[in-house]
Point group: C2
Chain length 343, copies 2
């Protein structure tokens, strides 16, 4: 295949910088890589496959023709620029929330619903799911395929990096100040200071009291799994972890499940790393994740008083599994399917 022209919009951000690294290490042949960000970043540089690339300002570009455009610059940038790039022939792979629920936009987890990308989407845009949805659905897939689900109840423990580089900075500087006895900088990225705190709000709260993140989990899981009636409810919480989201998930099936069966299903699932006696001892924690490319599942146990109830504890790198890596896998799937980069 011919080498591709690729643009990364949001190249200086938390997701964008990880994506540059992962793309560099991948086998995707690249003709020209363009790094785009806001005008604040003009002239900043980054290394891609041993070459130095300079960051350009998206707003000052007139040439937006490219084969693939990865967007990680927030919903507003995607909403405005995504369709323009697509109109110029790019396959837009969007990390934001702008298009995920658009019926013309496939929402793709390559390990779960690759067929959603069998043909080029009409809009030219493919959406990457929300980070907490990705690790949830990756762990659920083998279980909801094998058993009928009654309902899923989950809570999250989401890292500061989910709020981008500013989120990480705010956690670290707030922690330093708190250790020195100060009150910490006032919160900007998060609703209240996150250092030594937990915040039961991720995203805006709608009038019925459900947050945006909690709504995304329901809607996106249903769309990806093709289960429009999946019963799922959650409380999403930000925790003072730098990177790596965790989820405590309780799945109530229609019938009793056996622990051995569940273990077998999870052990076989590609990209899932199961922690269980005799397999991998212990359990995953976000600070000491074994592999940023895997979904880590531990504390798998059947409720001793209700054999239809199963707990799992799922941890993944939200910047990789939850964003950049999934975007890259979407690109590879699109290439394999000749959705882009065909001769």
């Amino acid at each position: 295949m011919r080498p591709l022209d690729i643009s990364i919009i949001g190249a200086t951000g938390a997701v964008g910088t990880v994506l540059i690294k992962l793309l560099g290490a991948s086998h995707i042949p690249v003709n020209r890589l363009r790094l785009l960000a806001s005008s604040n970043s003009i002239g900043r540089q980054s290394t891609f496959r041993d070459e130095i690339c300079f960051v350009e300002s998206l707003g000052e570009t007139d040439d937006i023709k490219t084969d693939i455009a990865f967007f990680s610059a927030g919903g507003a940038v995607s909403a405005k620029w995504g369709p323009l790039f697509a109109a110029q022939g790019a396959l837009v792979i969007d990390n934001s929330n702008a298009f995920r629920m658009d019926p013309d936009v496939p929402l793709v987890l390559p390990q779960v619903n690759p067929s959603a990308l069998a043909v080029r989407p009409r809009s030219g845009i493919v959406a990457n799911p929300n980070c907490s949805t990705i690790q949830l659905v990756r762990a659920l897939r083998p279980l909801v395929t094998a058993f009928d689900v009654h309902q899923i109840i989950l809570t999250t423990y989401q890292a500061a990096s989910g709020g981008g580089l500013i989120g990480i900075d705010e956690l670290l500087s707030g922690t330093r100040t708190a250790l020195d006895g100060g009150a910490g900088p006032s919160a900007e990225r998060f609703p209240v200071p996150l250092a030594f705190n937990v915040i039961p709000q991720v995203g805006e709260t709608a009038p019925e009291g459900v947050t945006l993140e909690e709504r995304k989990l329901i809607q996106e899981s249903r769309k990806i799994l093709g289960m429009p009636h999946l019963q799922l409810t959650s409380t999403c919480v930000r925790v003072p972890v730098v990177n790596g989201h965790s989820e405590a998930i309780y799945i109530e099936f229609e019938e009793p499940v056996r622990l051995e069966q569940v273990h077998e299903l999870l052990v076989k699932e590609p990209g899932v790393r199961l922690f269980a006696d005799g397999i991998h001892e212990g359990y995953p924690t976000p600070r000491f994740l074994e592999d940023p490319a895997d979904v880590h599942v531990g504390r798998v146990r059947v409720n001793p008083e209700n054999p239809r109830g199963l707990w799992i504890w799922v941890v993944a790198d939200n910047l990789q599994v939850g964003a950049a890596l999934n975007a890259l896998l979407i690109a590879q799937l699109a290439i394999a399917n000749n959705v882009i980069g065909g001769t």
Copy 2:
């Protein structure tokens, strides 16, 4: 009533030091206060009602006669010394796990089951519930009284102080080292380093995979509420918060509930501070708790897709509401009931 002789065992610990302060501010008349700890603490001093008290070594005491003995020195100390103090006439108020499930020992939340302390317990010992149980049951009480419960599914976000002073030290020093780029001290109090991490294990794990904390929540809630068949399942998680436990609780009732009804019940509940539109805006977080004597409840919402399901977010000071304050309220209840200190 005559002033009482009171002993605090574990007087140098996280719970003990808070108890000294709360007892000092209370109206309980004290004749003689004795502060006891391990031999490491001999000669340390503390201020009680403007007088200096010296800490003595429990192991080197021969005079253990007292009216009330507050134990907060771990299960082993309570198991050995509690019955000895009780045999000498003390009412033992125990913060440890040693006697909670003993049928001869009442497990008392004064706001929930005061009648359990109507008469002097046969053993002379009263148990204080586990910190995460206390805030759970305090918030549940009005709801499980008004409605039939189908099941409760909860996860916790538990602070370092639940692991005592060593737990707090380990979090703070580990955080400092991590900020300086080091790996942090190896974990002692917690199974893995807690700084910038979350750990899905509180207490030992039993072979079926349930932790001690998760088992306590079930057994103690049933005993306090007098609901032996209450269905409750949980995942307990330690988070890098200094003090203040949080819980995300999903209650599935047998019948639909209305949000206004739930608000009414919670607003009326003594010692519960409800955060809801028009009452108290926002939601509680552990670092910015409004009143360490209250149980803070926020994010109260009915599942839009299942009117039998209710989420609540409950935050309380685990050292006060979850330990020292409850122990003090037990003492006041015992005094009021003439269970001790009668003339």
